[in-house]
């Protein structure tokens, strides 16, 4: 019986191995561990483990799946939750034009679409405040038309229609669809300039995801008003052989019947200089400002200054040491020193 079981297991393994090879399936992972000195206390921690699977199903159809295992206060047992971050079926229509279907990183900003959970790629330890203040919808479940590297300016575009905020991964909560229109150009090597517009109507009574901090601890809250949301974003990214510059900003205009239009502006500027191939000192300035009377977002004006050094161990690992001064309307002033090792495998 035992021998039959082993034989069966071997056959399954061979079948799985061969089918994986036939489809050109790749599995990659990302993780990070850190030590932080904050409020006169040293803490060790690891934030999440990210598993990425890509597969070519046919000559034109491919798959990308990203699943994150992370600490979650609300889950029971080990206190770790599993979240499907991306499931994308991509069909190449013609040339560099693709149709994408599934759950995506909303292509609003450079950081959100380029790095997201891949901390190995982050130029700093944590995300900018813009992405942890619930200003932009980080994910969208829907359908998208995407093109890239078109013409001399290497023009790229994303047109996405999704369920919008308040929906679940399997069902829309209302008849309103979110719309994302994004475009970028790459006029020179290592330079990308982008702009985007996002529109959504969030129904009264909708339950929306709130990110509590950079560890992406989630909390759902109910929206008590119908909100018409318009987001205007712009980004400039240059990652050259020596200099690195990344600047992004989003202007959010939320309209409710009671408060009319309320504006929120969030931006950050990152700059780094490669002293050697492996060592990059850097700094980042962040600011998020909510207009008085804003009721859709949790109003907490914040600003931050970060300086640090990034040591590239190899392409699969880097070590960052960083100091952050953070001013928050709610929590006050904080000084944080962090070290992080981020890996890919």
């Amino acid at each position: 019986m035992k021998q039959i079981f082993y034989l069966f297991a071997i056959v399954i393994c061979i079948f799985f191995y061969s089918s994986v090879n036939a489809q050109n399936t790749q599995i990659r992972g990302f993780s990070a561990a850190s030590v932080t000195y904050l409020d006169k206390k040293i803490s060790f921690g690891f934030s999440e483990q990210d598993i990425l699977i890509t597969s070519d199903l046919t000559d034109r159809l491919s798959f990308l799946g990203e699943t994150v295992f992370r600490y979650d206060d609300h889950s029971t047992g080990t206190k770790f939750g599993v979240e499907v971050e991306r499931v994308i079926m991509k069909y190449n229509i013609k040339g560099n034009h693709n149709l994408l279907f599934g759950k995506h990183h909303t292509p609003i900003n450079y950081w959100n679409d380029t790095y997201h959970h891949g901390k190995l790629f982050y130029p700093t330890i944590d995300r900018p405040l813009l992405f942890i203040s619930n200003i932009i919808p980080l994910h969208t479940t829907g359908i998208a038309l995407q093109g890239h590297d078109l013409g001399k300016l290497k023009f790229g575009y994303d047109l996405m229609v999704g369920n919008g905020l308040g929906s679940t991964e399997i069902e829309d909560n209302d008849n309103n669809k979110s719309l994302t229109i994004a475009a970028h150009i790459k006029p020179a090597d290592n330079l990308r300039i982008g702009a985007s517009y996002y529109y959504d109507i969030i129904s009264k009574g909708a339950s929306v995801h709130s990110h509590q901090d950079d560890q992406e601890r989630h909390e759902d809250r109910v929206v008590d008003w119908r909100v018409v949301q318009n987001l205007f974003s712009g980004s400039v990214a240059y990652f050259g052989p020596k200099f690195e510059i990344l600047a992004e900003g989003t202007l959010a205009v939320n309209r409710t019947d009671t408060t009319c239009y309320k504006k929120t502006l969030g931006y950050y500027l990152y700059a780094g200089y490669k002293v050697t191939d492996k060592i990059t000192p850097y700094f980042r300035i962040d600011d998020v400002h909510f207009q008085n009377g804003e009721i859709f977002y949790i109003k907490d004006n914040k600003s931050s200054f970060i300086t640090g050094i990034n040591y590239q161990i190899n392409y699969l690992a880097n070590l960052k040491l960083e100091y952050q001064y953070l001013h928050s309307e709610i929590t006050g002033d904080r000084n944080k020193i962090s070290a992080q090792i981020a890996i890919g495998f």
């Binding site: 190449n92 560099n96 790629f121 290497k154 392409y315």
Partner: protein, 163 residues
């Protein structure tokens, strides 16, 4: 005593000759090796890449910025591993990156879902075989190909990059 003196006198002379010969051999070998790595040749499958390209086009293709050739064949990139001399030269000349930076670039492209990473090979013959067998494949090797089933792509009018 006389014999002993002769032996003592001849021994160092021989060793000097041997050492000199070894140094000369090493020098010749290093020159030969250097001559061998100083060229890069772009090869492709008969279905896919055009016979001539501009360098800017080539770099764009090799960075995964083009999904399909005019024939409709999917672009598939084949490179030597960055631990090999050809792989390092490819990273430097075609991508203007270090080997490590090239690998990180492709890891990033894979993570973003923009493109599939190239196939990396240990030997030239494996790479040539892969390019010959896969429509749309394009690769970089060191000396001109031994496999008759692959085409050479002329870049800016040249069939080889002289480093």
């Amino acid at each position: 005593m006389g014999n002993k003196k002769t032996i003592i006198y001849k021994e160092p002379e021989r060793s000097i000759v041997i050492k000199f010969s070894m140094v000369a051999c090493l020098l010749v070998m290093s020159i030969i090796v250097k001559c061998q790595v100083e060229t890069l040749t772009i090869i492709c499958n008969s279905n896919g890449a055009p016979a001539t390209m501009k360098f800017t086009e080539l770099r764009s293709v090799m960075k995964g910025e083009r999904q399909r050739w005019n024939s409709g064949a999917k672009v598939v990139i084949a490179l030597m591993k960055t631990s090999t001399t050809v792989g390092k030269n490819t990273a430097q000349v075609i991508y203007n990156m270090s080997g490590d930076a090239l690998l990180k670039y492709w890891l990033g492209q894979t993570y973003q879902g923009n493109a599939h990473a190239p196939k990396f090979f240990n030997t030239k013959s494996e790479l040539e075989e892969y390019v010959a067998e896969n429509p749309g494949a394009i690769g970089v090797i060191d000396p001109p190909p031994a496999n008759n089933e692959v085409k050479i792509v002329s870049v800016d009018g040249k069939t080889q990059f002289i480093l």
